[in-house]
Symmetry: C2
Subunit: 207 residues, 2 copies
């Protein structure tokens, strides 16, 4: 009655991480209990503590998996193929805006959520979140560096600009959650694009 079909051997760890991804995005890390995770994954607590030494270890694994997952997704995307580096950046922004059409928990960021709760209490999770945030820089950093090389802007570095993409993403998510509306998150990307067009003297094509 409980578990109609037993979870196949070898899948427990992946299912636990997938369950954590969903639950943590909805309720946060602290509010998600180990029992919650096991129930959602369809496994028992024995499986949990076989794969993870502690709940904190699951948190680290979750964030690292998140880093890898998002990294692979953006790396595989065709926006990287465009000729002009700024076009790649704008295409990346288009992609980010597309995500905002999905339900809120699905465009919420695992790293941003967990680091809010554990930046002081868990050095390991904070470090994992740092890796994740930094990996986000890399999705646009090379393109921005290339664009800046061709069109220098005094006082503006590629690193600092890349950070603004994460600022817009994370800040946009918080506003979307608070106002229960993805529109401000979309507006954050719109303003970032307008900022870049002004910096690089590249007005939007009309028509």
């Amino acid at each position: 009655m409980t578990t109609a079909t037993r979870v196949p051997r070898g899948e427990a760890r992946a299912r636990l991480i997938a369950a954590a991804r969903d639950l943590v995005r909805r309720k946060g890390f602290a509010a998600t209990s180990v029992d919650d995770l096991c129930a959602a994954a369809g496994v028992t607590k024995g499986a949990f503590f076989h794969h993870f030494a502690s709940k904190e270890a699951l948190g680290v694994a979750l964030v690292d998996d998140w880093t890898e997952m998002t990294g692979a997704m953006f790396a595989a995307h065709p926006y990287n193929a465009k000729e002009d580096p700024l076009d790649r950046v704008f295409a990346y922004l288009d992609l980010r805006r597309e995500f905002l059409g999905r339900p809120l928990p699905e465009f919420s960021c695992v790293a941003g959520t967990t680091v809010q709760e554990s930046y002081e209490t868990s050095p390991a999770i904070r470090a994992a979140a740092e890796r994740s945030i930094r990996s986000g820089f890399d999705h646009v950093l090379p393109h921005l560096a290339e664009a800046l090389a061709a069109h220098p802007v005094p006082g503006v570095t590629a690193e600092s600009l890349a950070q603004q993409f994460q600022v817009a993403t994370q800040g946009g998510i918080i506003l979307a959650k608070a106002l229960n509306d993805p529109a401000p998150a979309r507006a954050a990307f719109d303003h970032l694009e307008r900022y870049l067009r002004l910096l690089f003297d590249r007005p939007a094509a009309t028509g």
Copy 2:
């Protein structure tokens, strides 16, 4: 030796909210237990549930108090006295950057932290966070509206621009937590200022 001096009658509620403000900023809402709060405030659980019907009710009271506190702080500040509306906005940004010199938990935002955890699980707390975020808009909205009236920018509304201040604030805090460094939060405000100067054709004064 536990409570050397008894907390004076009438102060329990305020002390509980102050304790919650500190603990929630450090550990998040879910990870902060009622016992934690009572210990930090120097009162007993009887006092807690005398003033608050539940932990969730404390959360709502905390966020509402936060809204009022920050609102009063910014309203009282002399930046509001400047003649030019854009100068008021830039002075506001200076003020925000000043906060970033303090320890991380002290410039962390109560509303942003709590809404991450409870936007799905607690409608009451989410609504309180919405009030708080919206009240943040008001710190710059009239100045931006005035500036836009004198210098219209096609496709840009004062509301949308005001939102970007919260995006930069909240996003900057998350990056500061993840990288354990306030610099990206400061950079977020720097880029926002540069964006505004470009939009309003108001280059920074040199020398």
